[in-house]
Symmetry: D3
Subunit: 125 residues, 6 copies
């Protein structure tokens, strides 16, 4: 196993947790070989770059996905991911609120609705 | 002057610096009264919310603007703003790179080009 | 209560009707303080600007939301809002059809589907 | 000449004015036959539908183009078009300001900048 | 019946199959006259242009709809349409994977999910 | 040099030609290490997948970039790339025209303008 893949699996595990194997097999079933690309690229290459920690990468991801407004399943996954790597609920909510200025109020309200659902499904530690 | 406006002017000054008065009068000329809305809403209300500091708000803003890909002048302003409130060049570059996974590679390359131009126009402290 | 808030509540009531209090408390639960921003900014400041009446503002809102294609719940709310402030069903349909040229046919078809659902749920006066 | 084409040319002339023949020949040079589609579809079919006058259609178009943020040349053309069919400068500015709530502040500022340029290039009647 | 309409009905039938009459009456109910525009414009004019066959037009359509990420019902229709005019499942999947580079990974994953659902609902020939 | 990188450089060369080394060094200057990700991911992994040839991948890319409307420099590069791997001018124009139905007429007109510029700068073979 190459180093990039190893780092990718490790970071995917930190962000996605137990859901990683289902995520991988779902993608693999859709497009054979594409889950390798995702593990090695998204998690093993981009997310593993120095200069920004995983918490900050997850918050930037939430800002991006909320602004695009076309990625509800992925926003759900990364709100969970942000919590998994140590972001607080307040940090997540505030990043989503911040995008209202740049992507519009509906993007923010739809993002907040997803965050609320994710929060409700997790025990408060 | 109400408290929201006062906070707004203060935060706008921290982010935009000397450019604030030109920005305000440009907007005011375009749509009378709208600069008040921006000062009080964007800077005095949203950016002043507790729970996330200005550095993180600027990085979330850069993630949002890069992902949208439709806001070159505003991305330029906020790359400057992020530097003004204390973000490092590396943090800005990494937030832009992170969006490649979610908004596509062209969004990231166009964002990096803007960041490079802003960096080049500022003295390295 | 300041004047902007008062105007905001009045305009929100005109557009959203009985749903206003649920809307406000939903948002407030998601992001404390953000419903105040919306009432004072969206309804009390922007929508209350002179030079364009509420009917025209709601039709412009429908054109914007249909074109973005990422804001189904908000389009639903504003199709209702447009009817509440006196727009006709035909005006709403024609604004949605007009966007086909600029945002593409899928945006229009998805907008029309939402409008049809809203129309079906309201009694014809 | 069929009726749809005749109506299309008439409405295109009302909106675009003297620029119509250049617009048509530019498009025709790019994609032979596509200017006929535009004249008959955009102007002769959609814009000629009953239930909404040309002024309102142009304002909805401006709301759509401002919100998308990817169509600067077309927004310029339709700000001119809106003025040509009788919209006031204030109506145009207010439609653009209204989209700030739904498409974000950068979309509005970029739209206002285009409107300002168009206004500056036309004599005040 | 004019030639454009005749060609439009023929191409719509090739792409949409038995679903054509329901599609047309759904649209007609939403906006009277708009189904004629679609048949004559989309299918009879644009899709009938020489220089690109229907298979390639459907694959380009799938690339466009996946990238926009705002048109799930239309992507579903055109994945079916691509299969109807002779595209293979692999060609469809690969076009969707290709967009990951330009529109981001969530756009691709959401497109693949739709393709998988369409494939599952059709018998393997 | 790993196999993915080797394939990536080979495909990048086929698409981008002489411009490859400038492209790589530009990106590398913006975000150190990111050009490796692009070579290995975009060109060596995604573009090298079986099931779709490079001509078809470039046409799908043009459909995606035209529809997004936010990637003028990349659309320019890939119109050149499509010609480099053997697509005809007509195929490129028709893919861009096809997107008018799904992404709107402005997206198509702006895409056609870029294609026209690229065509004009290349000798007709």
């Amino acid at each position: 196993m190459n180093e990039r893949r190893q780092k990718g699996l490790q970071i995917m595990d930190a962000i996605v947790g137990d859901y990683a194997s289902k995520l991988t097999s779902d993608i693999e079933q859709l497009a054979p070989g594409f889950s390798d690309t995702l593990i090695e690229l998204a998690f093993g290459d981009v997310c593993a770059r120095p200069g920004l920690d995983l918490k900050m990468r997850e918050l930037a991801t939430i800002a991006a996905l909320t602004s695009l407004g076309t990625a509800a399943p992925q926003l759900r996954l990364h709100v969970n991911g942000a919590l998994n790597v140590g972001c607080s609920r307040t940090e997540i909510v505030e990043v989503i609120v911040q995008t209202a200025l740049y992507a519009g109020i509906p993007a923010t309200l739809n993002g907040l609705t997803i965050a609320k659902d994710v929060f409700a499904a997790r025990p408060l530690l």
